[in-house]
């Protein structure tokens, strides 16, 4: 618990330092309106990182989130084109539902067929992208084909924040509650922390993993609609490779790839850290290739810190050592 707390503190401090450094040269970067823009821009990553964090917590990984997002986004866009009158609320419900189904499909394969999650989601990642091509014939759905209401929702402001940001905040709160306050949330930690012990405790390991994938899928589906409507375009390759950013956000946020350790706060801060880097570097006029190198270094440094923190301490044999513990 202390390690996690300090990890969140370290990340917060790192983000503040980063903002401070950029501000020394471009004070406008830390203007409230710009910070809101950065947060809003990072919101999809936050949403996906929350889902991924739950999956990683159960000792799995979901590489299909970006493909799920793209497929759901395309379906939403096509529904909008075919029936512009369908209200946005229905579209969002469809997005969450379809995303959940795609995630549940991963979950069933992991649960019932016992296939390693990395293989399952590597497969479904390709399958989902393939389906987008099949249903769209490889064509784009462009801005002028979408209804104004469809495009307006994520940008609509409420109390100075766009809906996209509000959704990220809302989901953070909801999933924080699920993870920390429900029996299901507790089972995610148990399953990842020690699957054998979880079995003896009466927890169904496969079923918990199934739910983790379903949550991850539902969030990916939700982001699918938000992404397509925000950028007002849908095509086969949107968010290509974005799953790696999502995993990176989790790793930076202190979610242990070996499972059982992590927090929603960590995932959110990890995503924000990446988001700040991505938004700040172009401002400071650093080339995109350097940006990639810096993001990559951040991941490796984060893993190194995790490993150090997670290293098992030597056994306490001396009485005096035990006393000081």
């Amino acid at each position: 618990m202390n390690i996690l707390k300090s990890r969140e503190m370290i990340l917060t401090a790192a983000i503040v330092v980063l903002l401070g450094l950029v501000a020394t040269r471009f004070p406008a970067f830390i203007a409230p309106s710009n910070l809101v823009a950065v947060f809003n821009d990072t919101s999809p990553l936050i949403l996906l990182a929350i889902g991924q964090m739950i999956v990683i917590l159960t000792k799995c990984i979901d590489l299909s989130v970006a493909a799920n997002l793209a497929l759901t986004g395309m379906v939403c866009a096509m529904i909008n084109v075919a029936a512009p009158g369908v209200p946005v609320v229905v579209i969002i419900a469809v997005a969450i539902g379809l995303g959940a189904v795609l995630g549940a499909f991963n979950g069933v394969l992991v649960w019932k067929l016992d296939i390693p999650p990395i293989v399952v989601t590597l497969g479904t990642m390709t399958i989902y992208r393939g389906i987008i091509f099949l249903i769209s014939d490889g064509k784009w759905v462009n801005s002028h084909e979408m209804s104004p209401a469809f495009k307006a929702f994520p940008r609509a402001e409420f109390l100075g924040l766009p809906m996209l940001s509000w959704i990220a905040i809302l989901m953070t709160v909801i999933f924080f509650t699920i993870i920390t306050r429900t029996t299901l949330g507790r089972s995610f930690y148990a399953v990842g922390g020690n699957p054998h012990a979880a079995v003896y405790t009466g927890i169904n390991v496969g079923k918990s993993q199934f739910w983790a994938f379903t949550f991850s899928g539902a969030l990916a589906g939700l982001v699918g609609y938000l992404w397509v409507s925000r950028y007002a375009v849908a095509y086969v390759d949107i968010a290509l490779g974005f799953e790696l950013d999502v995993v990176a956000a989790c790793v930076i946020g202190g979610i242990a790839i070996s499972g059982g350790i992590g927090s929603i706060g960590g995932a959110v801060l990890g995503a924000l850290f990446l988001g700040v880097i991505k938004n700040a570097l172009p401002v400071v006029n650093i080339s995109p290739f350097w940006q990639m190198a810096i993001s990559g270094s951040a991941i490796i440094i984060a893993i190194a810190v995790n490993t150090r923190a997670g290293r098992t301490k030597g056994r306490i044999i001396l009485k005096k050592a035990e006393a000081t513990q």
Binding site: T183, R186, Y189, H196, V199, G202, A256, G260
Partner: protein, 504 residues
Amino acid sequence: MQQTTSTDAPVLRLDRITKTFPGVKALDQVQLGLYPGQVTALIGENGAGKSTLVKILTGIYQPDGGAIYVGDEQVSFPTAQDAAAHGITAIHQETVLFDDLTVAENIFLGHAPKTKWGLIDTKTQTRRATEILRSIGADIDPQTRLRDLGIASKHLVAISRALSIDARVVIMDEPTAALSHKEIHELYDLVDQLKAQGKAILFISHKFDEIFKIADRYTVFRDGQFVADGKIADINEGELVQMMVGRSVDQVFPKRESLLGTEVLQVVGYDHPTEFEGINFKLHRGEILGFYGLVGAGRSEFMQSLFGITKPSKGVTKVDGKITVIRSPAAAVEAGIVYVPEDRGLQGAIRPMPIFQNVSLASLKKTSKNGFIRLAEEFAMAREYTQRLDLRAASLDTPVGNLSGGNQQKVVIAKWLATKPKVIILDEPTKGIDIGSKAAVHDFMAELASQGLAVIMVSSEIPEVLGMSDRVIVMREGRIAAEVSGDDMTPETLVRHAAGIAEA
């Protein structure tokens, strides 16, 4: 069998070897001699120090004191390679080989013949593997992947590997534990061949019939100390059992009056296709029922099936006289049966999780409503049970992984107690923990029983079984070999039934 020089000087000799682990003296000035062309049986109860000795001989542990001699030369084995270089090789219960390599690759891994380019000379490797396999009469194609072989054939490959490095000493650690009847006889033939080739063999076994069948000499350890050695021809089974169990160890067990209550659990006709059959017994409130047997007698397998992890093909469980169907661990917990598995690291605590969450994990139904956990109730539950077990930790928020082994065990027990069980199954509850923690677990077990809980204790330590149980069921080869109580509960009876020796 007609060695001319069988009483030669030993090829390997251990002199006053001592090995101490925190809190335990695993080996205390023990001696052992292995002779060329002879089989020496190493005999002792669990915890006598046999495994430690094997690990010292194969360079995995370093002794704290004493000396190892190969021939006349004093040697030490800082690494496993050094032991192998002195011609010492071990064949373990579960063979340590590589499933996805071929037989020939397994035999020559690490010392493969090379071509002049430094690449592995597969032709020579295959040819030599064939020769070695043929020399021990093993009909195995060296190109087969090891995965496709049975356990007995894997043993043959392990033995071939031993021969390929020109071993002088072959250690066999319970090699027959997992073999079928026919395979065991093939192994005996092989031991004879190794003897004929002049190898010194250290044979570790709990089975008296096979000790008398193939061993030439014996060495007995008890509680990490050397007891006796000599020739098998000069001794009988009864004497060996006597030496092995000795007087009961100076370990104090909590005194308690057994007040048997009503019957709480009845198991009728539990059968499993491969692991156990015909398991019937009753269990009463306030009773501690010991399950004794050799490793691999099917005790844990049966307990796991009782707990719903594996399913028996037949069998009925009655809890409080009512037939109860247990298809999952969750159902078992619901029915009031809990299982504390053997390996606390692997199956016990969730190490990254705080203490209070570990304690409540199996009782979340009680501390939650509609799936939402009530933190105050959860904390209260954790506080209550950790206090009952006298668990000292700075805070209940501490991850269990930061606690000592004994305290981790307490957390696991607290978790189970919090479910308010009727029957608690403890599988080797004190294995690998220090003496102080052992006593605490024993006291606690006695307290559980006095509160009316029924306890099933699976244990391989005779003093513990005898000191704690009201009644003991001895299992052998997947069946109940005997049920003993009262004055019949003696070390000799238990060992005899477990090993299948008739009354003397």
